[in-house]
Amino acid sequence: MSTHAEPTPVAPPPAPLEVRRLTVSYGARPVLWDVDARFPDGALSAIVGPNGAGKSTLLKAALGLIPSDAGQSLIEGRPVKAARDRVAYVPQRDSVDWDFPITVREVVEMGRYPQTGWFRRVARREGALIDECLHRVGMADFAGRQIGQLSGGQRQRVFIARALAQQAPVMMMDEPFAGVDARTEASILGLLGELRDEGRSIIVVHHDLGTVRSVFDHVLLLNVRAIASGPVDEVLTPETLRRAYGAATVTADDAEALWAG
């Protein structure tokens, strides 16, 4: 028996995102099946799995962007509808028309609309915040550009700047590194690390197991069902990878190689 007074139990911080028994299907085909997942606070988390595993669907369903058949999604312990201002969502880059008549700065301004109001003018101090967000992703010199003139990497940076402008403690990103050059990927990964160190929780749908191992703290391995989740080194074992990617495609040697990074 300890003689010290027991510290009063502190409730653990609510998970930035928790889904319980989430089931989504397109037609008769289940895309997500009974998925339970809880992402840790203040961590850089990855959702990985093979093509068609439902990674993007998980984010969209968790945010209520597509209907789910069953299950529950909680952001910081509250239902999504009550917690929209706590999340910044970065959709897949291909989901928008990049020939749309809009400038880089206007896209980032969109991140402020939910807070400044959809109908009022953007106040001057908001301008400074937007400049700062652009600066953080290295796009300060591109504020007046048409988005159509940007490279793939620059477009991704603009989307991230918009998410920063939302000033939300939770960020969810859908395949931010798909089709992005190595330099941009490295620089965005660096930025995500900084944001995590500032205390934000970041959840990224990702496909590159190599960078998951070297950069991320937590991982959810998904293939329609949740295969495993937890710290990266515990989750990405040859055994779980085979279960997620299928024995036919991942031989023991491959899995070993992936596991070794």
Binding site: R84, S95, P101, W118, G138, R162
Partner: protein, 413 residues
């Protein structure tokens, strides 16, 4: 509306035509942007065609022939058509374009059948409904104009008020949903706005060609300006200008209004698509040609510099052989270089003038910097999202990083 008609320095009929066509152009131009940017131009077409049976049914039900009553019928039919399109898309495996085609053709056929039936009845009132096919600007009544103006003002005010939600939904529906915007509602609203635009323009342009007034001004405006907050008003202005021009020509020449307005609109769009700065086809072609020509001249300059270093100054023929360039391209490049004062000649033999030698060195330096980037660029750790431009790496990277790159390349050797 009377004061406006009196105010115009035109006789009464022309003044009514001008006001009607202006309202049509403003509304269709501004609201058509929402069809074009969502890649839903054909929805506008289907809504316009769907209006025709609405007009006929309203006439059969009320026996009235004034535009306002008939347009209410058109609006209802448009809404039913819109709901059907969405319904077919959602519940069956029919693709959106096919759903649009089905709704468009079935509603329009129904409209034609009803028109024919009405014409066969002995209703003294029936003459004139066929105007809704191709439109007629002359013969609008003042009180119809009042209704059209009210619709135009309401819809444009709505767009102004809801501009940010509309812009956000239009550009990025997933993001809009994630911040809690009612994306479905806004999308329905955009379709409603198209119905309103169709109603305002139907009498003037007619059901068949209404889609042109939705699409053409938006396409032209998109060529000219590059922000949504400008595209909408510019499209409205283009729509108004095109509408007035076409309606006046048609009422003077006793021509059907719809086709004339559409011809004017298409003429303007073609002009914009060809000649608009930055986006125009001709503008881009000219820029590309200039760039190719410059690249060719620079390459020949370097060839010549290399040849002079290696041996006696070459003739044009020798230069062509050594570089493997077609003789015609080489001649064109030499002409350009001559004009820029970069060449000197001794009989057939070619030399570089002093500015020519300097230019050749500059080109070589740029090429060296570019290959340094390809090899060592990854070590440079650029501080922001700037991207290397192969034609002018120094300008795109900035002097500091260009120098650092040269140093890296020199050190790596």
């Amino acid at each position: 509306m009377g004061w406006l008609i009196d105010l115009l320095p035109l006789d009464y009929t022309d003044a009514v035509v001008v006001v009607g066509a202006t309202l049509l152009g403003l509304t269709a131009g501004a609201l058509g942007v929402f069809a074009v940017l969502r890649e839903r131009s054909l929805v506008g077409d289907a809504l316009a065609h769907a209006a025709l049976p609405g007009v006929c049914i309203a006439f059969l039900a009320t026996g009235a022939k004034d535009a306002s009553t008939l347009l209410v019928g058109a609006a209802f039919a448009g809404l039913v058509g819109a709901l059907l399109m969405v319904g077919i898309e959602r519940t069956s495996r029919i693709r959106p374009d096919a759903a649009i085609g089905v709704v468009l053709s079935s509603f329009f056929s129904l409209g034609i059948v009803l028109l024919t039936y009405i014409a066969s009845t002995d209703n003294a009132n029936q003459a004139g409904l066929e105007k809704y096919l191709f439109g007629q600007a002359a013969g609008l009544l003042e009180r119809d104009l009042v209704v059209m103006a009210a619709l135009a003002v309401c819809s444009l005010t709505l767009v102004t008020l809801a501009f940010r939600p509309l812009k956000t939904t239009l550009f990025d529906p997933s993001f809009a949903g994630s911040v809690g915007l009612p994306v479905r509602v806004l999308e329905v609203l955009m379709t409603m706005l198209l119905v309103v635009a169709v109603i305002v323009g139907l009498r003037t342009v007619g059901a068949i060609l209404m889609v042109a007034m939705l699409v053409a001004p938006a396409v032209a405006a998109r060529q000219l300006v590059h922000r949504l907050s400008l595209v909408i008003p510019v499209a409205a202005l283009i729509g108004a200008a095109v509408g007035v021009t076409g309606a006046l020509i048609s009422s003077r020449g006793e021509l059907p209004t719809g086709p004339v307005i559409v011809l004017v609109a298409v003429g303007f769009v073609v002009l914009c698509v060809l000649a608009a700065p930055h986006r125009g086809v001709l503008w881009r072609a000219r820029k590309l040609r200039a760039a190719r020509r410059r690249t060719l001249a620079e390459s020949v300059l370097v060839d010549l510099e290399t040849a002079i270093h290696a041996g006696p100054p070459p003739t044009a023929v020798e230069l062509a052989q050594a570089s493997g360039r077609p003789a015609r391209a080489l001649r064109a490049a030499l002409r350009d270089l001559d004009r820029a004062g970069m060449l000197a000649r001794d009989g057939d033999r070619l030399y570089l003038s002093e500015p020519g030698a300097a230019a050749a060195h500059a080109v070589l330096e740029r090429r060296e910097l570019w290959s340094a980037w390809l090899e060592h660029g990854w070590r440079l750790e650029l501080p922001d999202a700037r991207e290397p431009d192969p034609t002018d790496l120094r300008a795109s990277l900035g002097d500091e990083y260009a120098d650092r790159l040269s140093a890296l390349a020199a050190g790596g050797r």
